[in-house]
Every structure is written in structure tokens, then in C-alpha cells.
Symmetry: C2
Subunit: 151 residues, 2 copies
């Protein structure tokens, strides 16, 4: 459905305004579907992303600073997301012996097993981009990268 119809706004000032609204709306649409997919596993999207980063480090630990560096949203509060994962016994937190300011965060066997189950469910494949061809996806990536170019 065209964005005009999705939000019942028939006229935009220009293509730029329309593109911005379309972009934010489409990202929200994607996130909503992804969040719904993760819900049966008791995870939110940020929690899932952090678990994946931790698996990437495994069996080495990660620090909060490393998580922030790798996350999509740099300013988000990794500390509190780790709180939730710790409550669910999916990660452990121990003071880093080499630098007692830092915290070593590690994914647990339960966390690894959960990631495997989620991936086996094929959530990541049915993700909403099925209607675009390889070439269209490339175009989209190029346009988004260009859009973010700073003056």
C-alpha cells in the first residue's frame, strides 16, 4: 500500500517530506513485525541483538562499552538491557579482574540454546523484504547510505 493511503494523508509537500515519513513508517512496520516474531521466545529486539553480539564474542566476555559500540542505537542503555537478560539467566555479569571498573558479560548455555531455537524457527528469513529483488535491495541500500551523508 502506498504511504499516502497507509496514513491517510493524500498530499505531501514534496518527495523529500514523503520519503522521510515513508522511511520512519516503514522502519516502524518492520520493527513491529520483528518484535512480534521474538515475543514467543520472551525476547525483545534489543535483547536479541545483545545476545547475538555476546555469541559473537563467546567464549570471551564482552564489556558494556563493547555492546554499545556494536549496537545499532549507540545511545541506548545497554546496562539495563543486560539487567533483563541476567534476570532470565541468559547472560552472566562478573567484575572484570583486569579492570575492576569494567564488567565481563558472557552468554550462558541457556542463552546460546535460545538463539539456536530462534534461528531454527526461521524468523530471520520471513522478514518482510521478500518482495524486492536483489537489485532493488542494492538500490535501497545505496539510497539510504546516500541519504545519511552529512553536509
Amino acid at each position: 500500500m502506498r504511504i499516502e493511503d497507509e496514513i491517510k494523508q493524500p498530499i505531501f509537500r514534496d518527495q523529500a517530506q514523503k520519503a522521510i515519513i515513508n522511511l520512519v513508517y516503514t522502519a516502524g512496520w518492520l520493527q513491529l513485525r520483528q518484535a512480534a516474531a521474538f515475543k514467543p521466545f520472551g525476547l525483545t529486539l534489543p535483547q536479541f541483538n545483545i545476545l547475538r553480539i555476546l555469541r559473537g564474542q563467546h567464549p570471551l566476555p564482552a564489556t558494556v562499552a563493547l555492546l554499545i559500540d556494536r549496537m545499532l542505537d549507540k545511545t541506548s542503555n545497554a546496562s539495563r538491557i543486560v539487567d533483563r537478560l541476567e534476570e532470565k539467566k541468559l547472560v552472566t555479569r562478573t567484575v572484570c579482574p583486569a579492570n575492576r571498573r569494567a564488567v565481563d558479560i558472557r552468554i550462558t548455555p541457556a542463552g546460546l540454546e535460545l538463539l539456536t531455537r530462534i534461528e531454527e524457527a526461521g524468523l530471520l528469513e520471513a522478514n518482510g523484504t521478500n518482495h524486492l529483488t536483489e537489485d532493488e535491495l542494492r538500490q535501497l541500500n545505496a539510497l539510504l547510505d546516500k541519504l545519511r551523508t552529512e553536509a
Copy 2:
């Protein structure tokens, strides 16, 4: 900057995964800039959007149902956003006389004046899409609309 460099992930599974991450990242990037622009005026983005919808109705009132229908994020809680606008005296809430379940929400003169000031500041123009040509913006809109096509 390419999305690979923005989030320090050199390899994606495929163009589709890259496009999804790129899309969510770019939308967040845009929203962050927009939120920063509204901050000096004491408004958040959802508050600004609701004020604009109310101005569109002015001098007629809007109901909460109408606001939800027009908003980008359909499931968001318009009621609580109106709470904040009411505290700031930018809108009024009165029980609808024709249907006492509904609430008539109206923008105040202060609300209208604030919108004018924001628009005069030119925030909506410097919005981050300056680097794309008219044709590229059209392409982007078409790709996003197609992406959201349901099976």
C-alpha cells in the same frame, strides 16, 4: 558513510538483511535529528505530530480516535501524549456534548503560535534528505512502498 562502517559490521548475510538493518538505522538517525530540532521548543516528535493534526482540524475539534487514525504509529497512546500537551496549555480537552464517551480536543492559540514559530525556524527543511535528487527520492518512496507489500 556506508552502513557497514556505521555499525562496524563488515559482512551481512545478504542484501535483504543489510537493507533491513540499514532501514532501521537510517530511520533512527533521522528521528534523532528531528527530536533534537524540536527540543528547544519543548516538544517531542509525537507531540508535534499531534499538534499538526489538531491544526489541520482547527477550529473543529478532534477526538482521540481521529488522532490515532492519522498518526504514523497507530498503536501509540494518543491519550497520554494529549495529557502532556494539555499540561503545557497547547491543547484543551472537553467532553463531546454529542457523544459523551468521546473527548473534543482542540489546539489553543498558544499551540498555533508554537507551530508557527517552529515552522519559521525552518526545521522541516533541513531534514537530512538534501543529498538525494528528486528522482532518487521518488525511487526511495517506491522501494519502501513495495517493501511493505504483504504476501
